[in-house]
Symmetry: C2
Subunit: 303 residues, 2 copies
């Protein structure tokens, strides 16, 4: 059970919680339909350093866009993306980046966008790990997702990343279907042409799925308070507090990236998506901190 997790407090706490809510004569028993688990994606299920996977996709998309319109080259933030100037990009802030990314992810329809993303994932390689991005996912989390599902949980992703971007691969890499992915989204529009209906992309941000908005979107998409939540940054604190406000059994976990050898060590100094406030209030709220270094005996399957 959970073979890539060491036999530390974190693993014990997970198993104790799952057995408690899944045992029929336990006072904390929770019926299967209410077993909702939500996971952040960037930095929780897959690596987000030196920057988010969607950032790398955007770098490549912008090169293609500039080829069609060379005047873009000298304007910001195109220039920063073209030069992969991570510091200049991070200075835009997480919301600013997501807004730009929605504009930069040009495609007429959702289906055309999905094709672009599928093609990109089939060829792109992570600059540090030298693996396809779809391999730069945390093996212990795959085991945890499987373990939760084997115990009747429905698993959801609630990500600051683009909902269509993550949906394109979530089913094949995490066994999480599109309808169980919640994320940032662009405005869209019904389009009927030549007796064909498509959903047109409008390139303007509809929802920036971060912090408070993660709670609003969990309510909109899932309609139930989660029982279990796993995040890794201040962007996930609000959904952890939402989960922990339940009157019944509940559990929140926070992944601490403290493993410079096998992955990267960072927390409050990652300006784009820091882990700072969540770390400081974790004890007070009863959030379990997972140490990548101590709690995981394997990070990636390829290692």
């Amino acid at each position: 059970m959970l073979p890539s997790w060491n036999d530390t407090e974190s693993k014990k706490a997970i198993i104790e919680f799952v057995e408690r809510i899944a045992t029929e004569d336990s006072t904390d028993f929770v019926p299967v339909p209410e077993r909702i688990a939500v996971f952040d994606n960037d930095g929780t299920l897959w690596a987000e350093q030196p920057t988010m996977v969607e950032g790398f996709f955007t770098f490549d998309r912008i090169h293609e866009m500039v080829a069609n319109d060379p005047a873009m080259k000298e304007t910001q933030p195109f220039k920063a993306f073209l030069e992969k100037d991570v510091a200049a990009i991070h200075a835009l802030g997480k919301r600013g980046i997501v807004e730009f990314v929605m504009k930069a992810h040009e495609a007429e329809t959702q289906e055309a966008f999905k094709e672009l993303v599928t093609d990109w994932f089939a060829n792109a390689i992570h600059p540090h790990f030298k693996q396809p991005y779809t391999q730069c996912i945390y093996q212990p989390q795959l085991e945890l997702l499987d373990y939760l599902r084997a115990n009747g949980f429905k698993t959801f992703i609630v990500t600051g990343g683009g909902i269509e971007f993550v949906r394109t691969v979530a089913e094949s890499i995490y066994s999480i279907p599109p309808e169980q992915v919640v994320g940032s989204s662009t405005k869209t529009q019904f389009d009927l042409k030549d007796k064909k209906v498509q959903v047109a992309r409008l390139g303007e941000l509809r929802s920036f799925d971060d912090r408070e908005e993660k709670v609003v979107n969990i309510n909109l998409h899932i309609g139930r308070r989660p029982l279990f939540v796993f995040g890794n940054s201040d962007g996930d604190l609000r959904m952890m507090q939402y989960t922990l406000s339940s009157d019944g059994p509940c559990m929140a976990m926070l992944l601490h990236h403290d493993d410079a050898q096998r992955e990267v060590a960072y927390d409050k100094d990652f300006k784009l998506s820091p882990l700072n406030e969540a770390l400081s209030v974790a004890k007070d709220w009863g959030i379990h901190i997972v140490s990548m270094k101590n709690d995981w005996n394997k990070v990636f399957a390829f290692q």
Copy 2:
């Protein structure tokens, strides 16, 4: 199989379609995760005459609101609702009603609202059928939902009704969990007070889930083009066309209320939610028309 359906063309078409997409060596085989079926609710799964179930809930809520603020009594549309003046209410139009209903469904939080709805359903009785509203659901459709699920379909509701209203009962009456209900929604807001997080209701319409917007919301919530769609009004035509624009196998059905004896006979003259355009283009788009009178040998379980 489908015992409340007569052995007519409609039943044959459903079974032929399901067997075709579920047979592994069929050229039209569709893998289980892509078997998405969407159903409208009012008039498709439960009765919507003399007006929608949520309308009756609103009548009762308004009486409670007016008791707290008697000045409301003389203002419109409160007056029309207080007097159950269906003609005056219908004159507001479907969107106008949904906007008002969102305002009238006053509750501080989503959980408080759910409690109001739960209590109401436990006591309210349909004025014509003299049964709880949760019994005024179509028996053939319950069988169809079960049949589709037994064949690997995931069943969704896509309703013009309030998402929280329908979610409250969808699991117990249709076996459809909250996360598989898409509907009209009010704006909401994250709320943290006394170390408790709630989702606050703001009473302002966020999404009116009708016509084109049903397609936009299917994309947002489900993220896949449905394989099978069932509706009963022009409000459902757009999602039928979306389904039928698939390159692969797909099926759309339209319930025609032509049974004045066991239910009600109505179509284009129902001003609030007419069946008019959809009926006239059905043949051209390959939409199957289901006759309540001829295709169903039973309408409600209590009959």
